[in-house]
């Protein structure tokens, strides 16, 4: 992965409270499922051709949100462009990990799982799980589980922001392209159900 850490983080990447809560629950649950040190969601900003950290659970939680890196690069980039999940282990010696990111987080993962957030054949971003517990990391089944969970998260995301997932200006989420009136209420109801499902309290 080659995150571009020199660019300034977005001031506030997610101001839409339901979406922010959904994404946070996605990374929290992903981390719990795989007994992982950390989990993050990147969303694709197609115009800028970048992936943006939108939610982080665990290490890096305080300062990674909003950081960007080129969409075609690294493991997350491969996952975003190929639409395929990926698991890699024995990574800590991998120079494709950006050293400055490693230093800034004081944490270099040894293993990483990543799956695309795909909804309706469209790639919205990538869900990553860092240092899953050793028994939860390397098999085809785990890859399947992560991919399924990512698909569910993508479906929920798609409901909230069907037109445009990453906004240059987060406030525009309620502008013309967003759902209005009854449609929006329906969407929010569906989101609520999905959230309860994701949180396992349904």
């Amino acid at each position: 992965m080659t995150p571009r850490t020199d660019s300034a983080p977005l001031p506030s990447p997610v101001t839409d409270a339901p979406r922010s809560e959904l994404l946070q629950s996605v990374v929290d649950v992903a981390r719990a499922i795989f007994g992982a040190e950390a989990s993050s969601v990147f969303l694709l900003d197609e115009e800028a051709d970048e992936l943006v950290f939108q939610a982080v659970s665990g290490k890096g939680e305080e300062f990674l949100v909003g950081r960007r890196f080129p969409a075609g690069r690294g493991i997350a980039g491969w996952v975003a462009t190929s639409g395929e999940p990926m698991v890699v282990d024995d990574l800590s010696a991998d120079p494709s990990f950006d050293r400055s990111l490693a230093e800034s987080t004081a944490y270099v993962p040894n293993a990483l799982m990543a799956a695309p957030l795909i909804s309706d054949a469209r790639i919205l971003g990538v869900l990553e799980v860092l240092d899953p517990s050793p028994q939860a990391r390397s098999g085809v089944r785990e890859l399947d589980l992560l991919a399924m969970f990512a698909r569910q998260a993508a479906a929920a995301l798609r409901v909230i922001a069907p037109e445009r997932v990453v906004e240059a200006e987060p406030r525009t989420v309620f502008d013309g392209h967003a759902l209005a009136g009854a449609q929006r209420e329906d969407a929010l109801r569906l989101l609520g159900s999905l959230e309860r499902l994701l949180r396992g309290v349904g």
Binding site: L44, E46, D49, A71, G72, R73, G74, I75, G77, W78, A80, T81, S82, G83, E84, P85, M86, V87, V88, D89, D90, L91, A93, D94, P95, S96, I118, A121, S138, G139, V140, E142, L143, D144, A147, M148, R151
Partner: protein
């Protein structure tokens, strides 16, 4: 063998080269074919190392000079012009943008140590237009008449399906074998779904030299794809899992078979993989004494 002298033999009747709709005014003696029978039970002979066989990895590029891969015989990149949208294939020195292509090349190299590996990079530029670029890279590889194309990728975009299908068929008849990964999740994607490619998914066994035939296609073969040690960026190795890594094992097997039997066609090659699959048993032919009424006079 140089890159300009591909492994070819036999008459060609591909599109644009005189289509043969039916055999009229000519007899069997007019269409002789010098064939390779293929290896017994489909298994490549011991000395078959992939020598003389040109393999192209269509992926994220291949690292230059990785000790487990060597220097690729050719490195190319598909570039899409931001303004005109024109897509071109150019030589490149950029290596690998991710590690994935290097991993695939490494598996091919260890399976067929003496094959010639080329790389065409279709990932790692701009995100948008990925399907176009994949299509252009694969088309280019088929036009270059590589013997084997490893495609550990697929596209879910149905608008490319028809074009990919026709490209896969052209490759099949032109003796360029496309070895394509099934998607890792149960979704429709292409071109692995097509019968004219050799499609590969992962089994969960530890045996690094095991391949299986799937009696219930569309994915036709399974190779080792779980917890595979592969070369990665910076001359190192990692372990990884997925159909992506089962595919180059089968591509490497194809290169080995072709190096010993260079006249084999794509369907013979697929049959060799079928016959040599560990789960394909060779039943004795039925005997007439057992009540079988089929004509089996040779037995």
């Amino acid at each position: 063998m140089t890159t300009t002298e591909p492994r070819r033999a036999g008459p060609r009747t591909g599109p644009g080269q005189g289509l043969t709709w039916s055999l009229r005014g000519r007899g069997p003696d007019d269409v002789p074919v010098l064939a390779d029978a293929g290896p017994p039970l489909g298994r490549p002979a011991g000395p078959a190392t992939g020598r003389g066989v040109r393999v192209c990895v269509v992926d994220s590029g291949v690292e230059r000079d990785h000790p487990l891969v060597g220097t690729p015989a050719g490195s190319w990149v598909v570039v899409k012009d931001g303004e005109s949208g024109e897509i071109t294939v150019e030589p490149t020195t950029t290596g690998d943008t991710c590690g994935h292509g290097t991993a695939c090349a490494g598996i091919i190299r260890r399976t067929a140590p003496e094959c010639e590996i080329h790389s065409v990079r279709v990932l790692g530029e701009r995100f948008s237009g990925t399907g176009d670029i994949l299509m252009a890279g694969l088309r280019w590889a088929v036009e270059q008449r590589f013997d084997v194309v490893n495609l550990s990728l697929s596209t879910t975009r149905t608008r490319f399906a028809q074009e990919l299908h026709s490209l896969a068929d052209s490759a099949y008849f032109a003796r360029t074998v496309i070895v394509a990964s099934a998607h890792n999740t149960p979704v429709e994607s292409f071109p692995w779904r097509f019968a004219s490619v050799i499609s590969v998914g992962s089994h969960q066994e530890d045996d690094p030299e095991l391949h299986l035939y799937n009696p219930d296609p569309p994915v036709e073969f399974f190779g080792p794809g779980q917890n595979v040690t592969v070369p990665w960026l910076g001359g190192r190795t990692i372990r990884t899992t997925g159909n992506s890594f089962a595919t180059p094992y089968v591509a490497g097997l194809c290169a080995r078979v072709l190096s010993a039997h260079p006249r084999m066609t794509a369907f013979q090659l697929k049959n060799a993989l079928y016959l040599s699959a560990a789960n394909v048993r060779h039943a004795p032919r039925p005997s007439t004494a057992a009540g079988d009424i089929r004509d089996d006079s040779e037995n």
